[in-house]
């Protein structure tokens, strides 16, 4: 039983790696149907939400930190993506889903919708503190980006969340089951 659990663990790391890589590769791509006003879904944010839903705040924050670092590398580090994504990880894991929200597609889409607004606001604030752009320009851009990205991201969120969630709940079941045999 132990042997199988190791294989499952390695398989799990592989799935995590491949899904993150897929999200990263989707970022620069502009595929038909994934674009609105030249804006595309925020795949990394969707991934962080999917990851943090059933995990602790610490795990959520670490995921946000790692993906934030990578996204900084792909665009620019000033303003940084780290704060936004870490906060998304922390808040998503803190949401009391049993009480208020059921774990289905719609609630995940709703969380993603809210989180996009949160991260875009953080980016906009960083731009304002930086002072290179005029406030009017930032505000105009913020409205466009936040709304379009929130709509697109929440619509595409289940595509990523559904398979990952199935795998992780299966893994959870196996883990709980295997404790009996250990």
């Amino acid at each position: 039983m132990r042997k199988y659990s190791n294989i499952r663990q390695i398989f799990n790391y592989l799935i995590i790696f491949i899904s993150v890589l897929l999200c990263l590769l989707l970022l620069p791509a502009r595929l038909p149907g994934m674009e609105l006003l030249g804006i595309h879904p925020n795949w990394l944010l969707i991934w962080v939400v999917a990851w943090s839903v059933k995990r602790t705040s610490f795990e959520g924050a670490i995921a946000g930190l790692i993906l934030g670092l990578i996204q900084d590398g792909m665009t620019g580090a000033d303003p940084t993506h780290i704060f936004g994504l870490m906060l998304v990880g922390i808040i998503t894991s803190q949401l009391q889903k049993e009480k208020y929200i059921k774990e289905d597609f719609i609630s995940i889409s709703l969380i993603v919708f809210g989180m996009v607004f949160l991260t875009e606001t953080i980016t906009a604030i960083q731009y304002m503190l930086q002072g290179l752009r005029s406030v009017g320009n930032i505000w105009f851009h913020f409205q466009k980006v936040a709304l379009a990205s929130a709509i697109l991201s929440s619509l595409w969120a289940p595509v990523l969340y559904y398979p990952l969630n199935i795998w992780w709940s299966k893994l959870d079941k196996f883990k709980k089951g295997s404790f009996r045999y250990d």
């Binding site: 590769l25 620069p28 930190l65 790692i66 792909m74």
Partner: protein, 258 residues
């Protein structure tokens, strides 16, 4: 202690490793990801259609004419005692990706250091100036578009030769701020890169003046519509360019920032 380590050791070590990897990716400007992306997107790169072929042929014809005129111009300048260095060959590159975040205006192109692209090279497209190379990997490079708010381009009005600089607004419209208090500029004037610009060679078309806002303080401003359709470009041309020495340090600093 040992049991604790047995339970949590592996996740801690792995998390540490992943953070180090992520930091490395950040410091290398995501070079690994750009490379993988360039590799994966290679089969999907668009073929040139007949219409584009004809347009390209027309452009090639005009380019030949321009080269011919430049040659003549150079010879005349030589006669007049003016020395200018020979232009280096151009590289054509497909646009394979857009910026990974919509607050930035960048594109990813499918040519890199193996094809002779260097940091600081100038990128043009059908219609004029597109931007400059800020990051190079072996098979791809990243272009900072002139529409990016962090981009500054020294520019001049072709008609009156009045100087200023252009700042991106994240869209097809850019803002030109003038150095003079009362610049001679009208709606419809064409704008090109200026001869004092340290980052771009002089004379590349940028756009046309759309609206005037001369009473804007601290410097008079005009809105300029870019002639390059940035959102629809599929191919660009890369022109080797050495940024002028004086502010090379500044460029490097800026690249580190952006």
């Amino acid at each position: 202690m040992r049991r604790w380590w047995q339970k949590h050791g592996l996740p801690i070590v792995l998390t540490g490793l992943v953070i180090i990897l992520a930091w490395f990716l950040r410091q290398s400007d995501g070079a690994l990801i750009s490379e993988i992306y360039a590799l994966v997107s290679r089969p999907f790169q668009v073929e040139i259609t007949l219409e584009q072929r004809l347009t390209n042929a027309k452009i090639a014809e005009l380019e030949t004419k321009v080269t011919e005129l430049e040659k003549q111009n150079q010879q005349l300048k030589k006669l007049a005692g003016h020395i200018e260095q020979q232009k280096e060959p151009m590289i054509t590159a497909p646009i394979i990706g857009r910026s990974a975040d919509y607050w930035w205006n960048q594109v990813l192109i499918g040519r890199g250091s193996q094809d002779g692209v260097k940091k600081g090279d100038v990128v043009t497209g059908v219609g004029g100036l597109v931007g400059r190379i800020i990051d190079v990997t072996p098979h791809s490079s990243r272009v900072l578009l002139i529409s990016d708010p962090q981009s500054r381009v020294g520019s001049s009005v072709t008609r009156s030769r009045h100087l200023g600089y252009i700042t991106g607004q994240g869209s097809q419209i850019v803002v030109m701020s003038f150095f003079e208090k009362v610049p001679d500029v009208k709606v419809g004037d064409t704008i090109t890169t200026s001869s004092v610009s340290p980052l771009y060679p002089p004379g590349i078309p940028i756009g046309k003046v759309k609206t005037l806002a001369l009473e804007n303080g601290p410097a008079p401003e005009v809105m300029i519509e870019l002639t390059v359709p940035l959102n629809y470009l599929e191919w660009v041309t890369i022109q080797a360019f050495e940024p002028k020495d004086v502010i090379e340090d500044q460029i490097n600093n800026k690249n580190n920032d952006s």
